[in-house]
Amino acid sequence: MKPPRLRAAGVVPLVLAACALASASLAAQDSARWKAWPGSRPPRPLPASDMRFPPYEVRTLANGLRVIAVSQNEQPAVTLRLLVRAGSAQDPKGKAGLATLTASLLDQGTTTRTAEQIADTIDVVGGALGTGAGSDLSFISAVVMKDSFDLALDLLSEVARHPAFKDEEIARQREQLVSAMKVSAEDPDFLAGAVIDRLIYGFHPYGVPGSGTPESVAGLTRGDVARFHRDWFVPNNAILAIVGDLSPQEAFAGAERALGGWERRDVPVLAFPEPPPATRRVVVVDKPGAVQTEIRIGNVAIPRKHPDYLALDLAVRILGGEGSNRLQRVLRSERSLTYGAAADLQALKQAGGVVAETDTRSQATGEALRLAVEEFWKPIREPVGEWELANAKAYITGNYPLTLETPDQIALQVLNATFFELDLKELETFRGRVNAITVDDVQRVSRLYLQPSRLSVALVGDAGVISAQLRAVGFDAFEVVPIDQLDLLAVNFRRGSPQASNRQP
């Protein structure tokens, strides 16, 4: 259960995965301390108490705004999250970065308050307000102590409905975006992620960087921003979660008061192109002198609302997720090639992909790449072990109560399901559905969606050191792009070359 993809957000805790090396270690084991310590086996668990999905309520206001309320009384705080169903995927052709720029401007002045007044209003009560955009959504979040609930709700309503988009603020945010891109343009982690997205999704909107490029952001106008806001920021295209120390009745009454007058309007209907079929393509972004190579490999897969989602999620977890991570075992535990290796199922609204990532010292790039690709083949060639699947399932089902600890976590799960238009009953039946997946299911979806012979590869590192290694492990055809020539919107990734786009007008 991942939250909607928010590019701006979050640190994922890296939890190391399973493996017993079974090395007999004898060296330090002759001490008195060792000998005196009794031999023992893992103790039995205590009686377990069952955990059901905690209570929440959902209502839809007359104007179409969906409101989710989760109540808890442990800490005197309230969190508000408004999701609008439009993000960088809705950026018009040639306007990459528009959703990001629009979201960054929401709290930078409204028709009744300046940016400074908004900041002062939320800060002085000890609250926090944030805005941003992801690939399929824009968001406004606020957290306040319970006595400032009305203040936060009014402020959220105002920045969602009446942003001023003053030229001066647009210029300021654009400058920030472009300067931040100068930093990102030298960050191997960011670049590897952006290049693999392009390779997997092509010129489907998911292949284009959500923050845009310096050139695309330079071309965005006030008219673009205002149009994006007018088109998409309507109540029937939004979901609000109200979470914390107040009753559902108070939450719904507050939502009705502050947002009941927000006018419904039809939103545009966009036709998204299919991502291109999986194609073997290897791109090396050359960063001379790099001590490490960032590695991403992947191919196109399925969107979140797809019947194979849960089985593929398990397959990808076995490949490189929490609970059972083959990539981590091979690359870190067995070979010490990396600090971390993982695979992720990006199951988004319109499409999805499977992406594995790791980083390794430059001299080990070929070996790490070969080993990672090999792991894409294994679940196709032979079924995963029963115990391995059982472990992966046990992790997900056992982890269930840990994912429902705080009211915000609960609300995120309801928001997530609502955002992806899933049946909310799935929240309750989650563990049963996980447990029904079989070894055969995992092999079937691996064969359908892991395409090792057509994997795309993005590498950011020192091409002078990497190139010969790539050839030695069978990657004879690859493109090298100097880091300062990289253009994520160009067909061949190079500045000054043709830019293609199938994106919506």
């Binding site: 893992p42 103790p43 002062d120 010490s336």
Partner: protein, 463 residues
């Protein structure tokens, strides 16, 4: 498996300046509830903190060892963190990596981190597995496996961690540059992850000695928060940890003191970074000192929210910085209060340094307004409240109080009232004490081999 870095908040918006004349609530902040606890000590010296919380059927167990990178002698930097990795390599009854795989297979989360002062191991699991996690932690406290082959392979993993976090990311080396320049003899001078050369020089004999010296019950604090019965839990803890032997010798605490800085230092260096960075750092006091609380307030005034002073002046109004903040790193021994700014293309490091210094001077030369003080206190209340929602966060506050405030667990909640009692005069007093020119380090870090504004020499801008 991770070391905790002092984060550079590149994207955190933060600014200052209150708007005069508007009405505002000056009510006292909402008081968060106190975290209940029991504090005991086993005969072998192990400190035990228990806090029942039955809201979700999970338990969080953490073990803090009071050893961090400041306990490392010169030439052995990075050792505490490297050792943290070794703690996952098995013990008498637990195979290498089994700790992690076992916790995963029950749906739990497990990790560890190393700071300058402490090494913390933690796991959160479904409540019925309490006996299992106690067994795992006790086994490695008593009998860690230490062998040459695992040590060498784990050292390679840590080197990759250093390459990834420090050497490959823009500004990844910023913290280690600041600390290397600011300190002369105190081990806060060196980075938590250590240097490549020292990692290479570490031996398996060092590992054994480190284990026997620091990984002993007297130097450990166990904290359990969550859905359990305290009497039953204490019985289980005593059963598993009671037999761990006492340390053969006292835990050494011979850490060199940093002599006071007596005159301002300014220097300029070059790094392979996209845009110039400017740092203004001052030596300050330690965590728990009465002067520390007004310094926390000063951090809020300078950098919490878009109305905070540094954000509003440097990023919003003058547009000279892409990102900027100033905050105290207030830990066990006297550390630093530092302000950092990334210089906007077209602006100069000199004007940014002057602007940061002006904001620190302003705290010294005039009292903060009543409104700003109230804002900072409300922000503190918010941090207190939303920072105590999970069992992990509760354990963090309780353990931190015991380990870093000389066993005074009452500070876990009591600090709330201390903060609410801080006055504008207190903030000005500590600013006068610490934000002096002779106690200042001004660092300018320019992109290597590039023109001003971070653009590679001879080329136009990115646009």
């Amino acid at each position: 498996m991770i070391f905790r870095t002092r984060r550079l908040l590149l994207t955190a918006p933060a600014l200052a300046l209150a708007l005069a004349g508007l009405p505002w609530p000056l009510s006292a902040a909402v008081r968060p509830p106190k975290i209940p606890y029991q504090l005991t000590k086993l005969p072998n010296g192990l400190t035990v903190i228990l806090s029942e919380d039955h809201s979700t059927p999970i338990v969080h167990l953490s073990v803090w060892y009071h050893v961090g990178s400041k306990d490392e002698p010169k030439g052995r930097t990075g050792f505490a963190h490297l050792f943290e990795h070794m703690m996952f390599k098995g013990s008498k009854n637990v195979e290498p990596e089994q700790h992690t795989s076992t916790i995963s297979s029950i749906g739990g989360q497990v990790n560890a981190y190393t700071t300058e002062d402490t090494t913390v191991f933690w796991q959160t699991v479904p409540a019925q597995y309490l006996p299992l996690v106690l067994w795992l932690e006790a086994d490695r406290m008593a009998t860690l496996r230490i062998d040459e082959a695992t040590f060498k392979s784990e050292r390679e993993v840590v080197k990759e961690e250093r390459r990834m976090r420090i050497e490959s990311q823009p500004y990844g080396r910023l913290q280690e540059i600041i600390y290397d320049q600011a300190f002369t003899v105190h081990p806060y001078k060196h980075p938590i992850i250590g240097s490549m050369a020292d990692l290479e020089a570490a031996s398996v004999a060092d590992v054994r000695d480190f284990y026997e010296t620091y990984y002993v019950p007297e130097n450990a604090t166990l904290c359990l928060v969550g859905d359990f019965d305290a009497a039953q839990a204490l019985e289980l803890i005593t059963r598993h940890f009671g037999p761990v032997p006492r340390a053969p010798r006292a835990v050494p605490r011979n850490i060199p003191r940093e002599p006071p800085q007596t005159k301002e230092r300014r220097l300029t260096i070059e790094e392979d970074w996209p845009l110039p960075a400017v740092v203004v750092a001052h030596h300050i006091t330690y965590d728990g000192d009465p002067d520390a609380y007004p310094l926390h307030i000063a951090s809020k005034i300078l950098s919490d929210g878009q109305s905070s002073r540094i954000y509003r002046k440097l990023v919003y109004e003058d547009r000279i910085a892409l990102a900027a903040f100033g905050q105290g790193h207030i830990i066990e021994h006297p550390n630093l209060f530092y302000a950092v700014a990334i210089v906007q293309p077209g602006r100069t490091p000199a004007e940014v340094a002057a602007a940061l210094i002006a904001e620190l001077d302003r705290l010294r030369d005039e009292p903060i307004s009543a409104r700003e003080l109230q804002r900072a206190k409300n922000q503190f209340a918010r941090d207190y409240i939303i920072g105590r929602e999970s069992v992990q966060e509760k354990a963090l506050h309780l353990s931190h109080a015991v380990v870093l405030h000389n066993g005074d667990i009452t500070t876990a909640d009591g600090e709330f009232d201390i903060f609410q009692g801080v006055t504008a005069a207190d903030v000005q007093r500590v600013a006068r004490t610490f934000f002096t020119p002779e106690n200042r380090l001004v660092l300018t870090i320019l992109p290597r081999g590039r023109g001003p504004g971070g653009v590679p020499g001879g080329q136009g801008g990115a646009q």
